[in-house]
């Protein structure tokens, strides 16, 4: 028998039993970041491939929500800061070692790019839109002419943003559940899948929905594969990591994880999408919304569970 006790003032409600410093804001921020990355990635890729006219929702409609998602996500991050008035310090330092540091810079770059992208399409939705200043009109004309030039950095930064949402967590070696490099690709694929779900919901074009549906099924399969990989890696790891994996394999996160993330968030929507492709009538909102909810719950569970896993105490 082995028992550890805190003999002193360490058993304080503010610090023990565990330091839960990140609350609901962070998973929402990670979710919106991943979603924005997914949408921008598809918009960029289809533009570079020269298929923009075939994918109206992917390239024009869905990116319209990205700046809102990014700014709202950043606002969530701001809400989570405890020393709010000093937030500008993020942008007076460049620290490549700190994922949060370079992530803040990536957001600083991709948010204006996404705004630029939306601005170049705004006249397709509001034909009477007036930029008021002449130089803005000239600038808009340049962007419309050179969308591919904008699409390249947008696609690359979208991938970095998607991976960043996972790396932000995986860089903490003190939290065994997060400390695995597969979290980067996993969050990227999950973010792309939620982005694809938004596009499917917004699209009126049957062919486009079919293409995005196929992509989404592929992404879901990759995500399931990564999740299996995640736990395989943990179970082959140190005791701290085995304990972390057991939170999801029999521990208190097992039921919500397998019900809402794996079953309702991945397998069930994939099956529905396969049925849809086979010609069955499936209301497209159902799998898309399930994927979105699954993605959100996945981030909530990872952030919450990661803060419980530890080496000591």
């Amino acid at each position: 028998m082995r028992e550890e006790l805190f003999a002193s003032g360490r058993n304080i409600p503010n610090i023990d039993p565990y330091l839960n410093i990140w609350h609901w804001q962070i998973p929402i921020y990670l979710f919106l970041g991943g979603l924005a990355a997914g949408i921008l990635f598809f918009a960029g890729v289809f533009t570079i491939m020269g298929k923009a006219h075939k994918m109206p929702a992917t390239v024009k409609k869905a990116p319209m929500i990205v700046p809102f998602a990014l700014i709202f996500g950043l606002f969530m991050l701001f809400l989570d800061l405890k020393h709010k008035l000093y937030f500008w310090q993020l942008y007076t330092t460049i620290r490549l070692e700190s994922p949060m540091g370079w992530g803040a810079w990536v957001l600083m770059i991709i948010t204006p790019i996404s705004l630029l992208w939306c601005a170049s399409y705004i006249k397709e939705f509001y034909p009477n839109w007036d930029w008021k200043f002449k130089f803005l009109n000239t600038f808009e004309a340049w962007v419309i002419k050179n969308r591919v030039i904008v699409a390249w950095p947008m696609t690359i930064y979208a991938v970095i943003l998607g991976i960043y949402t996972g790396i932000l967590l995986s860089a903490f070696n003190a939290r065994p559940l997060w400390n695995t490099s597969i979290l980067g690709p996993l969050f990227l694929v999950s973010g792309m899948s939620t982005g694809a779900a938004i596009i499917i919901m917004l699209s009126d074009d049957h062919k486009e929905r079919k293409i995005m549906g196929r992509i989404d099924i592929l992404l879901i399969v990759i995500e399931l594969f990564f999740i299996v990989h995640l736990f395989m890696g943990f179970l082959a790891g140190s005791e701290a990591q085995i304990d972390a994996a057991n939170l999801f394999l029999g521990g208190k996160f097992t039921a919500p994880f397998f019900t809402f993330v794996v079953l309702l968030g991945l397998i069930f929507p994939a099956v529905l999408e396969i049925f849809e492709l086979k010609g069955f009538k499936v209301p497209i909102y159902v799998p898309a919304i399930l994927v979105l909810i699954g993605g959100l719950i996945f981030r909530f569970l990872m952030v919450e569970a990661g803060q419980i896993t530890r080496y000591l105490y």
Partner: protein, 177 residues
């Protein structure tokens, strides 16, 4: 210069004087602490062994908190002391997540706070508050690069361990066992 601390778990009686001294010296707000005492009990009666450890920030050589700080608020001072610059800290909590020892907490004023090895006292040539009040003198503070320091002496002559070395942080608090 490399400051470090050696703590004799065989002399410690778990009185928590170090905790109170720290809270008084550093004005630690109520409900928080920069150091604490852990009691580890092994075995079942009558074959029981107890280890008492006064724990705090390990001022690690490979500090994950310094690495992950997005603003550079967490940084190294002379002798490897890890400090938080309050006016640079945005309270993002990354360092709290990064610390395997849970040595950091969010100060009610917003910034992150932790043990400083009482750097203000060390600069005057004194021992940290916790070391100076210990009634059993079970704590030794000093420079690892100075062959005559008490810490080096203790580490030369006794068996010691550090906490969670598997986390890869190279902690600089040593527990004599």
């Amino acid at each position: 210069m490399r400051y470090a601390m050696a703590i004799d778990t065989r002399k410690c009686v778990g009185c928590s004087d170090c905790v109170i001294a720290c809270q008084t010296e550093n004005n630690v707000p109520l409900g928080f602490c920069r150091d604490w005492v852990v009691e580890v009990v092994d075995g079942t009666y009558p074959n029981v062994s107890i280890e008492l450890r006064s724990e705090r920030c390990n001022h690690c050589d490979n500090s994950p908190c310094v690495r992950c700080c997005p603003t550079g608020a967490s940084h190294f001072e002379e002798g490897g002391i890890v400090l938080v610059e309050h006016n640079k800290c945005i309270g993002c909590g990354a360092c709290i997540q990064a610390c395997p020892y849970d040595a950091r907490y969010s100060h009610p004023e917003g910034y992150v706070d932790k043990c400083t090895f009482c750097i203000h006292r060390v600069r005057e040539g004194k021992d940290p508050a916790c070391v100076s009040v210990c009634p059993t003198s079970c704590m030794y503070f000093g420079d690892l690069d100075d062959p005559n320091s008490k810490v080096v002496n203790m580490l030369k002559n006794r068996k010691f361990k550090s906490l969670a070395p598997e986390a890869g942080t190279k902690p600089q608090i040593f527990y004599l066992v």
